[in-house]
Symmetry: C2
Subunit: 479 residues, 2 copies
Amino acid sequence: MPAPRQFLNYVDANANNFIKRLADAVAIPSVSGDASYRPDVFRMAEFLEKQLKSVGCEVRPVPLGKQVLDGQEIDLPPALLASIGNDPSKKTILCYGHFDVQPALKSDGWDTEPFTLLVDEKTGRLIGRGSTDDKGPVLGWVNVLQAHKELGIPLPVNLKFCFEGMEENGSEGLDGLIEKEAQKGGFFEGVDAVCISDNYWLNTRTPCLTYGLRGICYYKVTISGPARDLHSGAYGGTVYEPMTDLIQLFSKLVTPTGKILIPGVNELVAPLTDEERERYEKIDYGVEDIEESVGAQIAISEDKAEVLMARMRYPSLSLHGIEGAFSAPGAKTVIPAKVSGKFSIRVVPNQTPEQLDPLVSRYLEFEFAKLLSKNKLSVESLHGGKPWVADPNHWNYVAASRATQAIYNLEPDLTREGGSIPVTLTFAEQLGVNVLLLPMGRGDDGAHSTNEKLDRSNYIEGTKLLGTYLYEVGAIQKD
Amino acid sequence: MPAPRQFLNYVDANANNFIKRLADAVAIPSVSGDASYRPDVFRMAEFLEKQLKSVGCEVRPVPLGKQVLDGQEIDLPPALLASIGNDPSKKTILCYGHFDVQPALKSDGWDTEPFTLLVDEKTGRLIGRGSTDDKGPVLGWVNVLQAHKELGIPLPVNLKFCFEGMEENGSEGLDGLIEKEAQKGGFFEGVDAVCISDNYWLNTRTPCLTYGLRGICYYKVTISGPARDLHSGAYGGTVYEPMTDLIQLFSKLVTPTGKILIPGVNELVAPLTDEERERYEKIDYGVEDIEESVGAQIAISEDKAEVLMARMRYPSLSLHGIEGAFSAPGAKTVIPAKVSGKFSIRVVPNQTPEQLDPLVSRYLEFEFAKLLSKNKLSVESLHGGKPWVADPNHWNYVAASRATQAIYNLEPDLTREGGSIPVTLTFAEQLGVNVLLLPMGRGDDGAHSTNEKLDRSNYIEGTKLLGTYLYEVGAIQKD
Ligand SMILES: [Zn+2]
Ligand SMILES: [Zn+2]
Ligand SMILES: [Zn+2]
Ligand SMILES: [Zn+2]
């Protein structure tokens, strides 16, 4: 069931009002990672609360307690739990978004003031911090509700919203809230599916639906030897050097082509089905896109599906660096006494941190023993997060796919992301329902970079997309 | 020929005056590596010039031009060229030393004011910056001359002195001066041998003579890939990662037991003779000493001679660190775009930087090609210095050995050092004569550390040693 024509017309007619709404939101520098901006995050919560109320929502700001940031104990910004509609014959969709942003200073290299939305009439870009991540998508929902209120037409589903102000800083406090409200009688009771609009198209051309995220296992491998740093003139050749041992261990983790060498790790990967492989073949993103976005011709595979699968459905291991070794410019002849190598594995179904941690530790201990070094090894897991994957054939995805075709006249790419959005997994696990990632912005929006933008067409068509998605959800028989 | 009894008695009788002289010198903070102390380095040069003149030397301060330090162009401190005696029937010995010091602040962790010599009557330690490095040894020569002047006895040799004020900061300007004065008609004409007192006994018990130094070849290996740092979530698995390549290369340089894997490097090492091996067997320094000084039981060999040879006569390769990778505490999921690994090889006869540089480059290029990576490799030599070794059977060493036995009643250890003292090589090459390293201080003096000290007995017996060495040189028939 397509959205009513009058809804789509209303969005077009009110485009400038919607852009004004985004400009008002961008003007509030709700940077969650800097204590000095905390009052602005609160101000942003109030702004959004008011917006939601004005379009018919009931809103409950939930205090999340305190945190220590930049050496001071400060209040966490509230999460906003909002709802509209309570018709038991309709489906209930939970929408998640965040109203905090990454830091931004003009001096970082912005061409314009980051907290003043610039509407570039020539390129159609709406430039400003938070435009695409994640104020544009959050306000997209408000726009949809405004249209329905003003037009006096009922919503095709019941809606609940969970908007937070700490996403860019670890979503502190949110997991506890979700766990609590997912219980019987909690705010999330009765939710049939979740829709999160907080990621991006792979490219600049083709909308996508995202049904998977890799998890991560991050490790710190420490080798310690002498009691203090040594001079390589006096001691080079006489003692076991921690750096030599660490480099040997690190060389045994992954090959230049990305093959993980830790026994048992690859064996845990879910087998590839023909259907899934086809999905990669169909995605509008290729080796050239990868190479263009990294700025060098260094793709490991020349096969499009292989490259996409390497990012989306296979694990990868990256060596990030070494703490404690000489890392400055110049030439220092030090034998570092204690060095800690950092690496992480992006994990995929069916790998879990619980399974990987012992595989990694045991392998490193085994390989270290082979070195016959007299230095000491320790392996720590710094953090771990599970991968997530949803069923892209679920009605939630079917509805989003139909909506995309209705608005963009294109079949959306079915993608998985290489990174993690931890809240996705929390919703999936706590609510036990299907979660859909339905992005509004494009792959070149520069979410955490300078000159972050959201294209005007993505904002306006994206608002239509969110509304249409609700109609497509409503049209599917509730089971 | 032992030194005359009256000389030795004079030194004992004037010990407190000599300590006062050292205290006066330590009180001048002649830190060469910090522009704000430069006037003190000049003051120290004047102090030393006056001292040398007062004991009968002709002294010529030689300006060495300018340098840029801490962003300002400032005058280099002068070198002092001094001489006493001009008897063609006597040998001529050139003595080198330096009157500048390492930086020192009480807040670095000193127990006392670093530029106030503390005479610790209980332990016999003379504590202060420059006490052992290198003001004590330099003033040892002045003490010897004072004794001869006061006693009215002739010196057994002609003496020339070359004292500089930039040793701790790269000896800037000195090489040019030595080259110039080594020419026919120059100040160094007629020098029969050189004596440098600017290193230390291996241990705290046994005097030594040092006849070799390792050189160094320092390399920077850069791998560059993407145009900017990447996020491992989005790109891990899809592109060749510079860190992975660098770790692979670094793992092929040296084994945990210190074996250098670059073909051709070990083959250049001068063969070991039985006589030389015996020298290591006789040295009063063992595996326990090494382990005590590094503070951990991590010696590679349990054989004393092997450990000593590893430090003194074999090359070693140390991996110092990586520039451009993640080196801070914490967990960052970065794929660094460009990483530069630093390593150096301590080189020994008959290895030279000219021979090693191409061996190293070619090997790294060869191994990199085997990785089949699409990243780029570059190899740079950051600096190179040749090793030095002298003939320990030369009369210069024989004289020093006899003097040591006369003063300490011990046969000196014949040692080589693992690090480099570049001026040694310059004198050996430019003057074409034997160079002797005759240390005054002990292995635990802490030359560049907090609480630098020179034991009172090393200063006083060391003064006797320097004087006696001149008598033993004088007693050997001039050829
Ligand atoms: Zn976001
Ligand atoms: Zn973000
Ligand atoms: Zn020195
Ligand atoms: Zn020094």
